[in-house]
């Protein structure tokens, strides 16, 4: 191809920014679409750190060990060649971030410091205080700002992805996007598109995810023919603060330092984890802890104050010790709950935390739609059935790097560029979206979209998270079909032509209901227990029948 290629990146988190940087290094011009300024993307929430086997403490760690633990942790569903590449690339990624100025913690000699994380014996996790994701996100955002300054990046902030433009030969040729403030719907031609739109925790109503993690772009692409893989694998973290608006993570380290989980039974404190698992006590693996807390609250109805919450108690520990070891975490609790956890036990409950499944991609990060790439939490290939701690930041950056390189090779190989595509193709795609939004604008039914979303979240959280029963999954599918019907009777609430966020939310809600179907049906069909997916009726892993990827297609 002769002309300079233009590509589109959707999403301003780690994966999208990294893909943008690498594409720019290859002299591609990038249009970067984000809902909010990139600094406000969900990557900002990651706390713990990023894995890289640099064997900095002389413990004999190696990329091979990292590779093995990632595959084992994912219960053998992750794609092994890309995972191996990721683990071998990890040390260079951490060095790169270091060169970009990420304020990683240092040893007294000035080297990068590493800490231990769940599920490994090695000090493999580089970290920047308790805000590693924030620091890395900012570093990448700054590099993208540099390319913006040099004219290679054009930012479209406040634009939501609404549809991919797919030409008659099946190639992705751009996107249709809507400006959430002006409500303009426009079509943007491009030679390739990289999706990096994150997970879909909002399907569960409240989760540890940000409010923007609706998975709506994935739902749209799924309906347009993209394959969606391993939807049923959703990671649930055992201890989060039960908030009205979201569930905020409370780190595992609280239990590591002596925190105890309990609730009342027959009027007396019941330390159910210690009683049932005397060897591990409160430090049972994440999936078991989540299941037990869920059981106590949902099945036995023994949650504190009759709600879905148990105590995570550190009040028996010395205050100075708590301040020294857990100051940062306890501060979050105090800030958001307005209670001092040194005096009053914390109230916690498991929370949906990470979407392992996502858009199906090949080893080049390309979906089954030619020229449509995906990287980060919105695709499926690095974590299999469960994700290892501190691997999420890594997979986002690695996936973004691969996508940035491969999109260049792809664009170079094209014989026809976006200019050669008939304008009617673009016009048709735009009109499809315009028509859809015109229809939404007229919706004056009885259903409040935010209330319907709350119901969707409650249904999904109750039936499709920690413990899954086929009977309940079947009921959930019926319920989701009912939601689909009720959606038709929605009231869009707002008739304004300016910053009408309800209008966009209605569209997101529609996508969330569709993806909820994919998650639930995947869970129903997988009659085994693997990684985060647990069915008491089928408590064992069944490699003969299920050592395979679930792939959903839309009909």
């Amino acid at each position: 191809m002769n002309k300079n290629c233009d590509i589109i990146v959707v999403g301003g988190g780690l994966a999208g920014l990294m893909a943008t940087i690498v594409a720019c290094e290859n002299n591609l011009k990038v249009k970067l679409f984000t809902l909010l300024p990139a600094k406000r993307s969900h990557s900002v929430c990651a706390q713990g750190g990023i894995n890289a086997s640099l064997n900095i403490k002389g413990e004999g760690d190696s990329p091979d060990k990292h590779f093995y633990e990632t595959i084992y942790g994912g219960d053998f569903l992750a794609n092994q060649p890309p995972v191996k590449d990721m683990c071998y690339n990890a040390p260079e990624i951490v060095y790169l971030l270091d060169r970009m100025g990420v304020m990683f913690n240092r040893t007294p000699e000035g080297f990068l410091d590493f800490r231990r994380f769940g599920g490994t014996k090695y000090h493999r996790t580089a970290f920047a205080g308790a805000t590693t994701g924030q620091q890395i996100l900012y570093a990448l955002d700054e590099q993208v700002r540099r390319y913006e300054y040099h004219g290679l990046v054009e930012k479209y902030t406040g634009w939501e992805f609404l549809r991919a433009v797919i030409d008659e030969e099946g190639y992705a040729r751009g996107i249709v996007a809507g400006n959430i403030n002006s409500l303009d719907i426009e079509v943007f031609p491009a030679d390739a598109v990289i999706m990096a739109t994150g997970g879909c925790g909002m399907i569960f109503g409240k989760s540890t995810n940000s409010a923007i993690c609706t998975g709506s772009p994935n739902a749209i692409l799924f309906e347009q023919g993209a394959k969606y893989a391993n939807g049923e694998f959703i990671q649930v973290h055992p201890t989060a603060i039960a908030g009205n608006d979201k569930l905020r993570l409370i780190s595992e380290s609280v239990r590591g330092e002596g925190g105890r989980i309990w609730t009342y039974k027959d009027g007396k404190p019941w330390y159910f984890l210690e009683e049932k698992y005397p060897a591990y006590g409160n430090l049972v693996p994440r999936d078991i802890a989540s299941r037990e807390i869920f059981h106590v609250c949902v099945d036995l109805g023994l949650g504190i104050d009759g709600k879905n919450q148990v105590y995570l108690d550190v009040t028996h520990l010395d205050e100075d010790f708590l301040e020294y070891k857990l100051g940062g975490v306890l501060e979050i609790y105090e800030k958001f709950m307005g209670e001092n956890p040194k005096k009053v036990p914390m109230r916690v409950f498991p929370a949906v935390h990470y979407t392992m499944g996502g858009l199906w991609v090949d080893y080049n990060q390309m979906t089954n739609i030619k020229g449509l790439f995906a990287a980060g939490e919105c695709e499926y290939q690095y974590h299999g059935a469960n994700r290892l701690g501190a691997n999420s930041l890594l997979s986002c950056i690695h996936g973004g790097m691969v996508a940035g390189k491969k999109v260049f090779e792809y664009a170079k190989s094209l014989t026809k560029c976006s200019d050669d595509v008939p304008s009617k193709v673009y016009e048709q795609h735009k009109q499809t979206v315009v028509a859809k939004f015109e229809q939404y604008k007229k919706m004056e039914g009885k259903e409040n979209p935010y209330k319907l979303h709350q119901e969707l979240g409650e249904t999904m959280t109750e039936n499709v998270t920690v413990v899954r029963h086929n009977k309940k999954l079947l009921q959930t599918l019926d319920k989701l079909k009912e939601f689909r019907e009720r959606f038709k009777n929605i009231d869009v609430l707002d008739r304004s032509g300016n910053a009408n966020y309800s209008l966009f939310f209605v569209n997101q809600l529609r996508g969330m209901i569709e993806l909820a179907m994919v998650i639930t049906k995947g869970a129903l069909l997988r009659d085994e227990s693997r990684g985060s997916h647990y069915k008491p009726e089928f408590p064992k892993r069944d490699d003969e029948r299920f050592l395979k990827t679930t792939i959903a297609t839309y009909q």
Binding site: V22, E25, L36, K39, R40, S41, H42, V44, C45, Y95, L96, D98, R99, G101, V102, M103, F104, N105, R106, T107, G110, F111, L112, A128, T131, Q134, Q135, A139, E142, Q143, R145, R146, E148, Y149, T157, N181, S210, A211, I212, A242, G243, N244, D245, K246, I332, K335, F336, M337, G338, N448, Y450, L493, D494, R495, S496, N498, A499, N500, Y501, S502
Partner: protein, 246 residues
């Protein structure tokens, strides 16, 4: 717990503002975001008018993204970490005043990011290909750098600064602190002169009136006045040197 929420609203940037009052029933753990979420589930005012849901921005809801910044009981802060039980039963919400209004509680904070571009807020690396570790940084520098790197571009410092107003184009405390962050890094320091030049332009560091509101209002306790003081000296030394060398 029943609370009354007064919200200053505008449908468009040029609409005359009006107040809508809502009564919301929330539990004792509620924050301002969950109050706004309750309102959109039933957007009816105390006088029984059905109105459009209040437009507001939010994302992380744990005070690291900066999106949900607004004036709450006349103080600029994040709505996610503003707890109802600390605010009382009467809560007033208004948009930030120092940024162009988009709608209701939503403002356009693009000028913060433009400021970051002006001061070349980045480390000029050669490329993303493997080149081994970065320059060594001492623990002492890391500690200052880490504090500065937590700035979430929320705009609270600019909201509280008397020098940020319609008659000035002051770049604001947050951006100046970021200039210091990049100058601290050995590679970032390679273009520190560009940053000095940018800060010495109109609307730069010279506009600071030393009111010191910024450092008191910053939700992340950034050493903002320290950063401004340090860069004041640095730019002064730089301009004297430049004068002598010319």
């Amino acid at each position: 717990m029943k609370i009354r929420v007064k919200i200053e609203r505008r449908e468009t940037p040029i609409s005359t503002p009006h107040i809508d009052i809502f009564e919301v029933d929330v539990d004792e753990t509620a924050n301002v975001i969950s109050v706004l979420m309750e309102i959109r589930k039933n957007p009816v005012t105390v006088d029984g008018r059905k109105v459009s849901p209040v437009a507001f921005e939010c994302s992380c809801l744990e005070e690291v993204c900066g999106a949900c910044t607004m004036n709450i009981n006349n103080r600029a802060r994040q709505a996610c970490s503003a707890l109802v039980k600390e605010l009382g039963k009467e809560i007033s919400l208004a948009p930030l005043r120092k940024f162009p209004i988009i709608r209701d509680l939503v403002v356009d904070r693009r000028k913060i990011f433009e400021g970051l571009r002006r001061i070349k807020g980045w480390i000029p690396i050669d490329g993303t290909h493997g080149m081994g570790p970065g320059p060594k940084v001492s623990e002492k520098v890391q500690r200052i750098g880490y504090k500065l790197s937590r700035c979430m571009s929320c705009g609270v410092c600019m909201e509280s600064c008397p020098q940020v107003n319609d008659r000035s184009n002051f770049i604001g405390p947050a951006v100046i602190a970021q200039a210091l962050l990049f100058n601290l890094h050995p590679t970032g320091a390679m273009i520190k002169e560009d940053r000095y030049e940018a800060l010495m332009e109109e609307g730069g560091i010279g506009e600071c009136g030393n009111a010191q509101n910024c450092v008191k209002s910053c939700p992340k306790q950034l050493p903002l006045t320290y950063s401004i003081g340090k860069l004041n000296r640095d730019t002064l030394i730089y301009s004297i040197k430049k004068l002598l060398e010319s």
